[in-house]
């Protein structure tokens, strides 16, 4: 299925809308109830600008984007740094997270995808990379 992916190819950017309710849903689904992801009071007490998305929530969006791009190819490796927080305001609009990807390498049966994940003008993940089996 991933045979059509070729080195150098740009993958269509996927945009995800993120609101507070999405963080609550993710907290329940993942079991990560760290209050910095739902309480402004606690988040600001540790120096954050307010409630921020779970890094693993953002990484989950990356995994989703990779799944769509590759027709759900088997993932062999997935990694990133969480370089900037994704603050999510307590309103109906929330924020948008954009996930862009490029096929870095397609060698043998392994395909390496490098990504750029941004919220507004800020790059929120460092060196996000996925390796899938083609």
């Amino acid at each position: 299925m991933t045979g059509r992916l070729q080195a150098g190819q740009s993958l269509p950017t996927q945009v995800f809308s993120v609101r507070r309710a999405d963080l609550i849903r993710y907290a329940g689904a993942s079991g990560d109830f760290n209050p910095i992801h739902w309480s402004d009071r606690v988040a600001t007490s540790v120096g954050l600008p307010g409630v921020i998305a779970h890094g693993m929530f953002t990484m989950g969006l990356v995994a989703r984007a990779v799944e769509v791009w590759t027709d759900a190819a088997e993932v062999v490796e997935l990694g990133c740094r969480f370089t900037n927080p994704v603050p999510v305001p307590d309103d109906e609009v929330g924020v948008e997270v954009s996930v862009a990807g490029t096929v870095k390498e397609a060698a043998g049966d392994l395909i390496t995808i490098t990504l750029e994940v941004t919220c507004g003008a800020v790059r929120v993940l460092g060196m996000p990379k996925a390796v899938v089996r083609g």
């Binding site: 890094g55 990133c80 969480f82």
Partner: protein, 138 residues
């Protein structure tokens, strides 16, 4: 409060066995890929970040054992290396070890590594995570 240096290299007890269910995977898909994807899920491979559910069990137990407040933790980085996809029916445990520990500007940088194994003891996934602990006053 700095984290105890003697933690480096320490391996914690495996987490309680976690039985992966279709409904739990579907809930995770709903949270990361939306309701349509969740509805379409037919019981196959779990999403690539799903092993974090088991890895976090190990991490929370570690933080609790060390008396570290969860709200002082920020996730620095995360890497998964997969031996095979996770499927409903898998019974998984995670074993966490502390790979590195250093202090920068009053924060502890804790490098952890967890091995996720199935009921046969076979390795399913290895996760590496860096946790940033802002010490605060105590």
């Amino acid at each position: 409060m700095a984290v105890d240096q003697s933690l480096i290299g320490r391996e914690f007890a495996p987490t309680r066995a976690y039985a992966v269910s279709v409904e739990k995977v579907r809930e995770f898909i709903a949270a990361t890929a939306g309701p349509k994807a969740a509805q379409d899920y037919a019981g196959g491979s779990a999403p690539a970040t799903f092993p974090i559910v088991v890895a976090f069990d190990a991490m929370f137990a570690f933080l609790d054992a060390e008396g570290i407040d969860l709200f002082r933790i920020v996730h620095g980085d995360q890497k998964f290396t997969y031996e095979r996809p996770i499927l409903p029916g898998d019974v998984l445990t995670a074993t966490l070890s502390v790979a590195s520990l250093r202090q920068i500007g009053g924060a502890d940088i804790i490098g952890t590594r967890s091995e996720i194994r199935d009921a046969s003891g076979d390795l399913v996934c290895t996760t590496a995570a860096t946790l940033l602990h802002r010490g605060g006053d105590g």
